[in-house]
């Protein structure tokens, strides 16, 4: 099998740097701090709730540590990938790369895979701490592998945002800022419209107005919301229920139909949301590949100038 040369080179080059060692150290340190903080809170709760079995509460270390790791990945991966293409341009190695047999898409794929490999370094390094709730009991080991899957998805999603911004921006710093901007759009932009819509309905209902129309299309946006995705994932793993399904049932004043109805049915939200995220990832990678293709890029610039 022919390993993507960019992955091979980047992983080798970055492994020789002390940055990765310090990165893993910081990652472990944060996880350890969160772990001890969570343990302290669980212990305090146990005391104040009259000697409740502390081991029952320890299963909550799983979502706490998992979310911590996913947040770190969500922050670190875009930074890494946002500097990848723009970094090549800054180093002036990009042109040479584009004159080789590598296609723009394989260059993009190589950069994304490097980011995934790196993020998996972190996740695997965090496994011993992550495994503690499983040792104590109350959680199935499959949950750990599901977490690995979600961590992979978060990494790929973050990397695709980073690489798209890297292909757009000339400077790495601009690409990083733009990446976080897009992240924010996914977190807030996909959730706020529905939230506002529900608040308006709630306000109207309290004044006795009858609300016409539905917010089903806004609901679909939530399929792209990483926070809702993670909430759904942990609810499924921890309590075996779909938060999305119950949320749709209670929040929507109308009967949802089509894709929303399908998504709201038990256990389907996560699958549909995953597919939607994968489609977005592919779209971002495809756009990034088009952006770095020198021939297409100049054709676009030229047509823009001729229009002007």
């Amino acid at each position: 099998m022919h390993l993507n040369p960019i992955v091979k080179k980047d992983v080798k080059v970055q492994s020789r740097s002390m940055k990765i060692c310090w990165g893993i150290f910081a990652y472990e340190l944060i996880l350890a701090l969160v772990f001890f903080l969570a343990m302290l809170v669980i212990q305090q709760n146990s005391i104040y709730s009259g000697g409740q079995n502390i081991y029952n509460a320890m299963v909550w270390l799983y979502p706490i540590l998992a979310v911590t790791q996913l947040v770190i990945l969500g922050i670190v991966v875009p930074v890494r990938t946002a500097a990848s293409i723009s970094g090549e341009k800054e180093r002036q190695t990009f042109d040479i790369m584009m004159t080789t047999s590598m296609t723009p898409f394989s260059v993009i794929l190589g950069k994304v895979m490097t980011a995934i490999v790196q993020s998996m370094f972190y996740v695997v390094a965090g496994m011993p701490i992550m495994a503690l709730p499983f040792i104590i009991g109350g959680m199935s080991w499959s949950s750990l592998f599901w977490f690995l899957g979600v961590a992979l998805l978060v990494s790929v999603f973050s990397a695709s945002i980073g690489i798209l911004c890297s292909s757009i921006c000339r400077k790495s710093i601009s690409a990083v800022i733009m990446s976080y901007g897009i992240y924010l759009i996914f977190f807030l932009g996909t959730g706020l419209p529905y939230l506002i819509y529900q608040l308006v309905i709630a306000a109207n209902n309290s004044y006795g107005y009858v609300q016409s129309g539905s917010g089903d299309n806004l609901l679909l946006l939530l399929l792209l919301n990483p926070a809702v995705y993670l909430l759904e994932f942990f609810a499924e793993v921890m309590i075996g229920e779909s938060v999305a399904a119950s949320m749709l049932g209670t929040m929507s004043s109308t009967q949802p139909g089509g894709l929303v109805r399908l998504a709201a049915s038990e256990g389907r939200w996560l699958i549909i949301s995953t597919v939607v995220f994968l489609a977005v990832i592919f779209l971002f990678l495809w756009l990034a590949a088009r952006r770095i293709d020198p021939v297409r890029q100049h054709r676009r610039r030229q047509s823009m100038k001729s229009k002007a």
Partner: protein, 321 residues
């Protein structure tokens, strides 16, 4: 080998390259000459597939460069004007990285890389990190890298800029060596003396246009129109001038204290006859030689007055650089 037909590159209203047609035969060492902003790099980038032409066609070995981009990439080795390096990458890993980009196997890369590093005199630097090499070494390594997939055409954009004299000589020797191996080489530069020493043919670009192309001697012949002759003498200057003026195929260029410069369209025999006539009429001729035109003089006469173009150069700076 490389054929360019009516190539254009426009940036809005500005024409970076205009109606460029060129044919470079197999095994040629072709020098692209021109002032900054003349369109050399733009042309090179279009040939390498790093830029799409606004119009025109580029073909390499009869294959259309735009229609067969993937195949064309295997036929070109590109050395840019700036050598970017990756930190923490050794010379042999650098070669391996670029070799694998052409989907070559590790053993094949290792063998070819060894040969190439020997060719560029870097065999002893295999285990050295690339960023610790001198600029000259890096440039030679870049040439070795560009040859890893055995391309038929090697394109170098200002390879000697920023190199010290020794590194320039080494680079020149390397390129001549590669040419003797049958590689077709296109090199852009504005260091004219070096190009005149090694190039078999040149193309002079000015304001996006190819103003002259071909063998240096042929271009000089075409531009200067006649041969130059310098006659040095001790006595009889007036007589020599009179004899020269009487000959309809001779044009007097300048008359110095002990030197007469003239241009002519005579054959070698006629030149000997002219000198003999002068000697017969008591002119003491101490020597004579053919006046050689330099690439610099050729460049200046083809591209026009430098001062008048200063303002234009600023406008003509290539937008992608």
């Amino acid at each position: 080998m490389l054929r360019i037909d009516h190539l254009y590159k426009n940036y809005g209203k500005f024409q970076a390259v205009s109606d460029l047609s060129l044919h470079i035969p197999q095994g040629d060492l072709f020098g692209f000459v021109g002032p900054n902003g003349a369109g050399k790099t733009t042309t090179i980038r279009m040939v390498c597939g790093l830029m799409k032409p606004s119009a025109g066609a580029i073909s390499i070995n009869g294959m259309d460069a735009l229609a067969h981009r993937k195949d064309i990439k295997r036929q070109i080795g590109y050395v840019p004007d700036f050598f970017g390096v990756y930190d923490n990458l050794k010379v042999k890993e650098y070669m391996d990285f670029y070799g694998s980009m052409y989907r070559m196997g590790s053993k094949e890369i290792e063998k070819i890389a060894d040969d190439l590093l020997e060719l560029v005199n870097l065999s002893d630097k295999k285990e050295v990190f690339v960023d610790t090499l001198s600029r000259g070494m890096k440039q030679r390594l870049c040439v070795a890298r560009a040859l890893i997939h055995n391309p038929a055409l090697l394109i170098l954009d200002e390879p000697n800029s920023g190199l010290d004299p020794r590194a320039r000589v080494e680079m020149k020797e390397l390129l001549l060596n590669l040419q003797s191996m049958g590689k077709t080489i296109v090199i852009s530069s504005h260091i004219l003396s070096e190009l005149s020493e090694m190039c078999t043919s040149i193309g002079i670009m000015d304001r996006g246009r190819l103003v002259a192309a071909g063998r240096i001697e042929d271009i000089m012949e075409g531009v200067f129109g006649s041969n130059g002759l310098v006659i040095t003498l001790e006595e009889g200057r007036e007589t020599a001038v009179r004899i020269a003026k009487e000959n309809p195929r001779v044009k007097l260029e300048s008359v110095g204290e002990q030197e007469i410069r003239l241009s002519h369209t005579m054959t070698k025999q006629e030149v000997s006859k002219l000198i003999g006539e002068m000697i017969a009429k008591d002119v003491v001729v101490t020597g004579f030689h053919k006046q050689e035109g330099s690439l610099e003089t050729l460049f200046m006469s083809v591209t026009g007055d430098g001062d008048a173009r200063k303002g234009e150069k600023e406008d003509a700076s290539e937008p992608h650089r």
